[in-house]
């Protein structure tokens, strides 16, 4: 069962005040307000639409506003097959997102090319952009997509606020030639 009650981070409580570390509060805020950019290309996009519907509501995790503008999104959800013709478009969309940004790769085609081992399909989006969480399936059930989102939430909560400036992260972006 997914527990959607939000526990308070560890801290000291008193009459009218609550003291905790800043990282905890920032983590809690980031985790529950991820705005996704649904980059839905094919069949996994329809399962995402089912996830957004009222049966498997995605909005209760804070993703109430799916933004289609990369400048206003935190989470890039790539759902569906990415062909080589689409690769530059995906890359441009990723580059337009502002830090902190996460990438969720939904479906077998986005993770590794899926059943399409052909000349025209990119064999996995991690060839062109760094990916945080992979959700396998063809298409994955909405419960799996939600679990992927929960893992991103864990990452968002536990990430240090200085991670994006660290050398390791810069080296990762260098390896993809992303400035």
């Amino acid at each position: 069962m997914i527990d959607t009650n939000l526990p308070a981070p560890p801290g000291i409580e008193g009459q009218g005040f609550f003291a905790t570390a800043l990282d905890n509060v920032v983590g809690m805020a980031r985790k529950n307000s991820l705005w996704p950019l649904p980059f839905a290309t094919s069949c996994c996009g329809i399962e995402f639409m089912a996830t957004m519907g009222s049966h498997y509501d995605l909005a209760r995790f804070g993703s109430e506003r799916p933004s289609f503008s990369p400048r206003q999104a935190d989470l890039l959800m790539v759902m569906g097959t990415i062909a080589k013709k689409m690769g530059p478009v995906l890359r441009k969309t990723y580059e337009q997102m502002a830090e902190p940004r996460w990438v969720l790769s939904v479906g077998a085609c986005a993770c590794s090319g899926g059943i399409f081992d052909t000349y025209s399909v990119l064999q996995g989006i991690d060839r062109i952009i760094p990916v945080d969480v992979y959700v396998p399936g063809c298409p994955p059930r909405p419960e799996q997509i939600i679990e992927g989102l929960l893992k991103i939430q864990e990452l968002a909560q536990n990430e240090s606020t200085r991670r994006r400036d660290s050398e390791e992260y810069k080296a990762l972006l260098e390896s993809y030639s992303i400035q």
Binding site: K84, K85, S112, G113, D117, T118, Y119, S120, V121, Q123, G124
Partner: protein
């Protein structure tokens, strides 16, 4: 009521001449006639404008590559449907691989526009008088025609899938 295959074959023989029909057969009951590219447009025009037959709908257009037929390797297969009488026919035409020139069916049907672009993209068949014959589905800078039989299916530069595990 569908017209019989003999009637239509008779009309085709009358229109372009019996010697110009390379092959006529009825696989699974569907009349299939192979003609030379130069007779194609006239024949289709007569079939479309015929007062009884009225083949006014082009159902499909696709390419074929048969490497064994020397001199006639690349071809196009057309399917026409007459809704008034519910008759279907199939026309085929082939051209040599060195000069795959076939006249464009956009003269009679606007729906042939993208279907011929797709056939060009996959097989490299040049359609004469096509308004905009460029690639449609593959990337624009691709320099070969992927559906031809000599090219492999898989991307040859991928490193993560080891061919010997897949039996290739």
């Amino acid at each position: 009521m569908p017209f019989s295959n003999e009637e239509i074959l008779g009309f085709v023989q009358h229109t372009i001449g019996e010697d110009n029909i390379i092959e006529a057969s009825e696989p699974h009951g569907l009349l299939t006639i192979e003609v030379k590219p130069e007779h194609l447009i006239v024949l289709v025009g007569r079939l479309k404008n015929h007062p009884d037959f009225q083949f006014t709908f082009m159902t499909d257009l696709c390419g074929m590559h048969i490497p064994e037929q020397i001199g006639r390797e690349l071809g196009v297969v057309y399917m026409f449907h007459s809704w008034a009488s519910n008759t279907l026919i199939r026309l085929k035409t082939f051209a040599p691989i060195e000069a795959p020139l076939i006249p464009s069916m956009t003269a009679h049907f606007n729906s042939a526009n993208w279907m011929e672009r797709e056939t060009y993209d996959f097989y490299g068949i040049i359609f004469q008088n096509h308004p905009n014959l460029v690639r449609i589905l593959n990337v624009d800078d691709m320099d070969y025609f992927p559906m031809r039989k000599e090219y492999p299916l898989e991307d040859q530069v991928r490193k993560d899938k080891v061919d010997e595990f897949f039996g290739r």
